[in-house]
């Protein structure tokens, strides 16, 4: 091959690549599934669900909570927690530098956001993983913040909802991150013992240490459509078993079929479906049937009616 041939095709490749990625910033985004070009304000209106193919695009943690919680009475929990490089970990880059870059890119301190707020007037605590912060990986800050959120919901006796999106434990924190699995699971067990509902919403993707701890421990495990959810990643499994993975493997629908999740809920119905379930679990009237329907009077009327019913039974 002459030197010219060597250079020319590679130049061509570079140019073609450049052209492909040259969608102007800010206004347009490409759907990763159907490749349709989407107008951002339109996409926002659809809560980042592709209007053409219904693909649920990944969401930032803040946007997720913003859409999920009522506008008023929000309070962020443990927002000041900062990651610490306990091991002075260094691979091709220093962990410290990776953290700095992730913080700059996402404007978040770490990969979990926690808030106390309301959902159609039900008070609750909601947390969401920021996938663009180092793959939503769970290190000490994520674990600690999750526990503080769970503790808050335990103290107030209000439900906890978690939106998981994570590649797993954060390798750069080594055993500290592994232990977050035990730490978060222990906090959730306290909620369970106290009879406080915990709903785990699995969004694309949930794997590894997050999947094998807090994400699978919900009273309800709920998935968004077509999300990838599993313990080991598809590539690792393929290398281990040396066979092709079945169609739809580790997708939400696969998990529903195998009994891992309770339901698959479309993002636009998330608020109403979870609200409906939580109202039942916490013995509150259905949404719209407001408290000023005088539930106290109804209760009292029932209580008065009951003894009579018993008397009748006894006579019979």
């Amino acid at each position: 091959m002459s030197w010219l041939d060597k250079i020319v095709p590679s130049m061509g490749r570079i140019q073609r690549k450049d052209r492909r990625t040259s969608v102007p910033d800010g206004l347009w985004r490409k759907c990763p599934k159907c490749e349709g070009v989407l107008y951002l304000p339109e996409l926002e209106k659809h809560q980042s669900v592709c209007p053409k193919c219904d693909h649920h695009l990944r969401l930032t943690a803040r946007k997720r909570l913003d859409w999920f919680l009522d506008q008023d009475n929000r309070e962020e929990i443990a927002e000041d927690l900062q990651p610490v490089d306990r091991l002075k970990f260094r691979d091709s880059k220093k962990y410290k530098d990776r953290l700095g870059a992730a913080q700059k890119n996402t404007a978040e301190n770490d990969a979990l956001i926690a808030m106390r707020g309301t959902l159609d007037d039900i008070p609750l605590v909601a947390v969401a993983f920021e996938f663009s912060f180092m793959g939503g990986s769970m290190g000490a800050v994520v674990g600690e913040k999750f526990v503080q959120a769970a503790t808050r919901s335990l103290e107030e006796g209000i439900p906890l909802v978690c939106f998981a999106a994570s590649g797993g434990a954060r390798m750069q924190e080594a055993l500290f991150s592994l232990m977050q699995m035990a730490k978060t699971s222990a906090a959730l067990e306290k909620l369970k013992q106290a009879g406080i509902p915990y709903i785990s919403v699995l969004t694309d993707p949930v794997y590894g240490g997050v999947s094998a701890s807090l994400a699978m421990l919900g009273d309800l495990n709920v998935a968004e459509p077509n999300a990838l959810i599993g313990f080991a990643g598809p590539r690792v499994i393929e290398q281990t078993v040396r066979e092709k993975l079945p169609e739809g493997f580790q997708r939400s629908e696969f998990l529903l079929e195998h009994g891992t999740v309770d339901m698959i809920v479309h993002r636009q119905e998330m608020r109403s479906r979870l609200g409906g379930v939580l109202r039942k679990l916490t013995h509150q009237p259905a949404f719209g049937q407001l408290e000023n329907d005088e539930p106290d009077l109804v209760d009292e009327a029932q209580r008065e009616a009951e003894p009579e019913a018993e008397d009748i039974n006894r006579e019979a």
């Binding site: 927690l81 610490v84 306990r86 091991l87 970990f89 260094r90 691979d91 091709s92 290190g139 000490a140 800050v141 674990g143 600690e144 526990v147 434990a169 954060r170 390798m171 924190e173 080594a174 055993l175 500290f176 991150s177 592994l178 232990m179 977050q180 699995m181 035990a182 730490k183 699971s185 222990a186 906090a187 959730l188 067990e189 306290k190 369970k192 013992q193 590894g208 240490g209 999947s211 094998a212 701890s213 807090l214 994400a215 699978m216 421990l217 599993g230 313990f231 080991a232 690792v236 499994i237 281990t240 078993v241 066979e243 993975l245 079945p246 493997f249 580790q250 195998h258 009994g259 891992t260």
Partner: protein
């Protein structure tokens, strides 16, 4: 002076067990498969001693003095090699094909073991064994990962990688231990939970997560001992405990050094760097505050002296159990919860 390396493991090198042992570093020189590459100088010296012994038997020349000298030299050599092991070398030792496994310890540390099988839902998982036994006559529940020795058994034990039914069996046994007021003693030695299609279908993640939650509130003392590889969530799923013990040449990590290297360095060959960076050895983890008791191994590692290692594990278990059983249950659970909350808590 008794020979510091018993001849048993050396002679075992002649049978076919564990032949896939060490990576072949130098194809020209025949390697003793029962020694890792960094142990080869010891293997060579041992081979010489063995040769000399055979000559001695034949020719009636008194060579005892010479053998004793060489033994002494071999001991010095082992000491110098084992004085400064890298994290990667420890990792190799933790996976040594002749390292004692859970059932070996069950034989030496405990008495009267009855193995219990099955998760009551799907199957019995041979990669994770458990049952009731006695430790110094006291009834205990023992649960541990189990690897195989020969090829057939390795496959049957799935290389010590449990499927969900393994973890669910462990959970069943732990809850049984709680009902019958028996302490739970777990032995950790796994590359990780099995990453397979069937395991995913039956909810590997859920099985692990459920164990973590149950163990955090189990009303009986739990002591975990890492005896080989502590591979990530698959290890932790029987590793939430009141006291963590580690054998000197065992490891505990969030991902295998190879896995970490292939993700962060984009090459599995950088595993030794990854092993160092993650701080996976018992000694480093004790410095970091994860390990309560570091159990020193006899010179040359647990696999050269299984009986002596078992004795040390037993002593340590008995002491640890005495400490934990003197506490009342509420205090024990509070302490366990505080321990879990302390991991990575803000300073």
């Amino acid at each position: 002076m008794s020979g510091y390396i018993s001849l048993v493991p050396f002679e075992r090198s002649r049978d076919s067990r564990g032949l896939q042992a060490a990576p072949i570093a130098n194809k020209l020189k025949p390697m003793n498969p029962n020694y890792l590459d960094f142990e080869q100088p010891i293997a060579e010296l041992q081979a010489k001693i063995e040769e000399l012994r055979l000559v001695g038997n034949d020719s009636k020349i008194n060579i005892n003095e010479e053998v004793a000298k060489l033994q002494e030299k071999s001991k010095k050599l082992t000491e110098s090699i084992f004085k400064d092991l890298t994290a990667w070398q420890v990792s190799q030792l933790s996976r040594h094909p002749q390292r004692p496994y859970t059932l070996d310890y069950l034989e030496h540390v405990f008495t009267d073991f009855d193995e219990l099988h099955g998760d009551r839902h799907f199957a019995d998982d041979a990669a994770l064994v458990g049952g009731v036994a006695r430790l110094d006559d006291k009834p205990v529940m023992v649960i541990g990962h189990q690897k195989g020795r020969d090829v057939k058994e390795k496959v049957r034990r799935n290389f010590g990688m449990p499927r969900p039914e393994g973890y669910r069996k462990a959970c069943r046994l732990m809850e049984m231990a709680e009902r019958f007021k028996m302490p739970v003693l777990t032995f950790i030695d796994t590359p990780g939970a099995y990453p397979g299609i069937d395991a995913e279908e039956r909810g590997q993640s859920e099985a692990i997560a459920y164990n973590l939650a149950v163990m955090s509130r189990l009303k009986t003392p739990i002591i975990s001992t890492v005896v080989g590889e502590g591979g990530s969530g698959g290890a932790l799923a029987i590793g939430v405990c009141d006291e963590l013990q580690m054998l000197q040449y065992s490891t505990y990590s969030v991902i295998s050094p190879e896995g970490c290297a292939s993700i962060l360095w984009k090459s599995a060959e950088r595993a030794s760097e990854a092993a160092h960076a993650m701080g996976i050895t018992a000694e480093r983890l004790q410095e970091l505050g994860f390990v309560d008791t570091l159990i020193k191994e006899p010179l040359g590692g647990a696999h050269r002296h299984p009986a002596a290692t078992s004795e040390r594990i037993k002593t340590s278990l008995v002491e640890s159990l005495d400490r934990l059983q003197s506490m009342d249950t509420d205090a024990l659970l509070e302490r366990r919860y505080a321990r879990l909350m302390s991991y990575g808590a803000p300073v």
